[in-house]
């Protein structure tokens, strides 16, 4: 038993050695494409001056850019709206009862704030094929969207995307880790 494993390893190292003797030849792929995010970031966007009758034109008016408005209930740790993740069972897209209060709170917020928009990001754990998990993450996002719709949030306020298993914490050793990866994150557009 041990011998056969060792033998396999030895054979392997010989073949590795053979592969290593190989040199590079002329590239057949002439022009690799390099993808860089060229979209302007918030930090570089110019601040818009505001028309203000009471402005003191003799001095310089300070503009503070803060996309996460400090007093928003969305970010108040004591408010249920600060909870943004819905977790799922393996290969399932059912929104479990324990997450109803979170979904209801966000639905209520969206119904009361007609201009607010959310992106629902579906995720899956790393087990299974990447494409199937992409579809599974999508279906979870859609399940949350339907729950929000039923509670009066409008279609136009909600976008669903899936990252499949691509954003999952890799090499999970236990179920708790997998569980944390099977989720939909609710992301407000202003964030």
């Amino acid at each position: 038993m041990n011998k056969s494993i060792l033998n396999k390893k030895l054979l392997a190292s010989l073949l590795v050695a053979m592969a290593l003797t190989a040199c590079k030849s002329t590239p057949m792929v002439d022009k690799p494409a390099d993808v860089q995010d060229k979209s302007p970031s918030a930090a570089t966007a110019p601040a818009q001056p505001t028309a203000d009758n009471n402005a003191d034109t003799s001095g310089i008016k300070e503009v503070t850019i803060d996309s996460k408005a400090g007093n928003s209930p969305l970010n108040d740790p004591n408010n249920i709206l600060s909870k943004r993740s819905i977790y799922f069972d393996f290969d399932k897209d059912t929104v479990k009862a324990e997450f109803r209060p979170v979904v209801e709170a966000h639905a209520k917020y969206l119904a009361e704030h007609g201009s607010a928009k959310v992106i629902l990001q579906g995720n899956a754990d790393e087990r299974g094929t990447r494409e199937y998990n992409l579809s599974l993450g999508q279906r979870r996002a859609v399940a949350v969207k339907k729950s929000l719709n039923l509670l009066s949030a409008q279609d136009k306020q909600i976008e669903t995307v899936s990252f499949g298993e691509e954003k999952a914490t890799p090499n999970c050793a236990d179920e708790a880790c997998h569980q944390a990866n099977r989720r939909v994150d609710i992301v407000y557009e202003t964030e």
Binding site: A12, P27, K31, R127, Y132, R139, K167
Partner: protein, 429 residues
């Protein structure tokens, strides 16, 4: 027995340490198992004075044949003669080495910085010539020519189709960056096709090998691109609302089957290779994904959980009712056709393990070919004899290959890299 074993170990260790100084290939290949009867072959080093700076062509040929598991490449260093043409072969010397076949050849210079590679294959016992080839090549085509020669030997002696003169594509995740790379089928000469800070998945070769379709998350959602390997030009094939994923080419290269989430759930669509002519193929309330076009163009096989668990179904490539294809195993996903259309490689989930399985489509018989536990992305070699797939080892992704009869296994890895999503491309001309 033990002594013999130690000797074996020493020899191999020496071989490894001697060659590590010239290490250059990024993908290392390990092999285990072998055919029931390996053909003993002597590959006499070519007269290579005209291309002395390049890798030894006989080494490349030998490595290809050995990797197939079907050949025993003999050590020729102890043989007195050094033939470079059939007329010079002293058959008794090679019969004494127990060689069944012998190859000889040479590389000479041609005007205009070209090389002439000649190669002959002979049967040692019958003392007859089995094959004779001559190639007029540019110096940078020497490796490819070696793979073509290995293919001639492999075809003549095993009866199987060519396999070595081909390339593989895969995704390499390194330092948080994702690169779609293409390498020769022996793992040598990896080149980056596209790289991004966001995930890239599902590379798919066009049937003529000049383009690769893939899914990129660079815009924070999955979008399908088609990129030319020769010009680097990228076409956005599908960027519709929701997810755009799982491209699979039609055998004539004119269309792709893709997956969109227009109607919330993942459904199959067909689209022309220039991004026009979108047409819906499946309409179900379930997940329909991972389409794979049959080699005769008539069917699209795909994964669907319409029956409760993911299983493989087929639908006419012009749409219609889907029929279930897999019935054994808890889950079956990721169908990939053999080039002859007679069998289907897939990922099976049983007992919590994801393994590579192959199903004979006429008999329905299934054979599980890998141990798992997180294997995925199976694809056939151009001759259907080997299945390449992704596996995980030591917390990192690696590529593995298994012969379609399950006998020979290989593992390809890169030090420091996390490699996934392999796809075996077509033969090179």
């Amino acid at each position: 027995m033990k002594t013999l074993f130690r000797l074996f170990q020493t020899t191999l260790f020496l071989a490894a340490s001697l060659t590590s100084a010239v290490a250059n290939a990024a993908l290392d290949i390990e092999i285990s198992g072998g055919g029931a009867q390996q053909i003993p072959i002597a590959i006499v080093p070519f007269d290579q004075a005209a291309a002395a700076s390049q890798d030894k062509i006989s080494d490349i040929i030998g490595a290809d044949l050995r990797r197939s598991g079907l050949f025993r490449v003999l050590e020729t260093g102890g043989v007195a003669s050094h033939p470079t043409d059939v007329a010079q072969i002293k058959y008794a010397e090679w019969a004494a080495l127990q060689a069944q076949a012998i190859t000889v050849g040479s590389i000479t210079s041609l005007p205009g910085n070209r090389l002439k590679v000649t190669f002959k294959l002979a049967d040692v016992l019958k003392q007859t010539q089995l094959a004779s080839m001559e190639y007029n090549i540019a110096p940078n085509q020497l490796r490819l020519t070696a793979h073509k020669i290995a293919d001639v030997i492999y075809q003549k002696l095993t009866g199987e189709g060519p396999i070595f003169a081909s390339r593989i594509a895969y995704i390499n995740k390194s330092k948080g960056r994702y690169s779609l790379q293409v390498a020769d089928a022996d793992g040598v000469n990896p080149q980056t096709v596209v790289s991004s800070n966001e995930p890239i998945i599902s590379p798919a070769w066009s049937p003529d090998g000049t383009k690769i379709a893939y899914v990129s998350f660079e815009k924070k959602k999955p979008i399908i691109f088609v990129q030319s390997l020769t010009t680097g030009q990228r076409l956005t094939l599908a960027n519709f609302k929701g997810n755009n994923s799982a491209p699979s080419w039609s055998p004539d290269g004119s269309k792709l089957a893709i997956v969109l989430t227009h109607s919330d759930n993942s459904q199959l669509y067909a689209i022309n290779a220039d991004g026009t002519g979108l047409r819906q193929i499946t309409k179900s309330g379930a997940i329909d994904t991972e389409p794979n076009w049959s080699p005769d163009g008539k069917w699209i096989y795909f994964t669907s959980d319409r029956g409760g668990n993911p299983q493989i179904y087929k639908v006419s490539s012009i749409g219609g009712e889907a029929q279930r294809v897999t019935f054994q195993g808890g889950q079956n996903l990721s169908p990939h056709f053999s080039p002859d259309g007679k069998s289907l490689a897939m990922i099976r989930r049983d007992g919590g393990k994801f393994t590579v399985a192959v199903q004979d489509l006429s008999s329905g018989q299934v054979q599980v070919l890998s141990e798992g536990a997180q294997d995925e992305s199976p694809s056939f070699a151009p001759n259907g004899r080997v299945i390449l797939y992704a596996t995980r080892t030591g917390g990192r992704g690696a590529l593995a290959a298994v012969s379609s009869d399950g006998r020979v296994k290989q593992r390809l890895s890169e030090s420091g890299g996390d490699i996934r999503e392999p796809s075996w491309g077509p033969l090179l001309n």
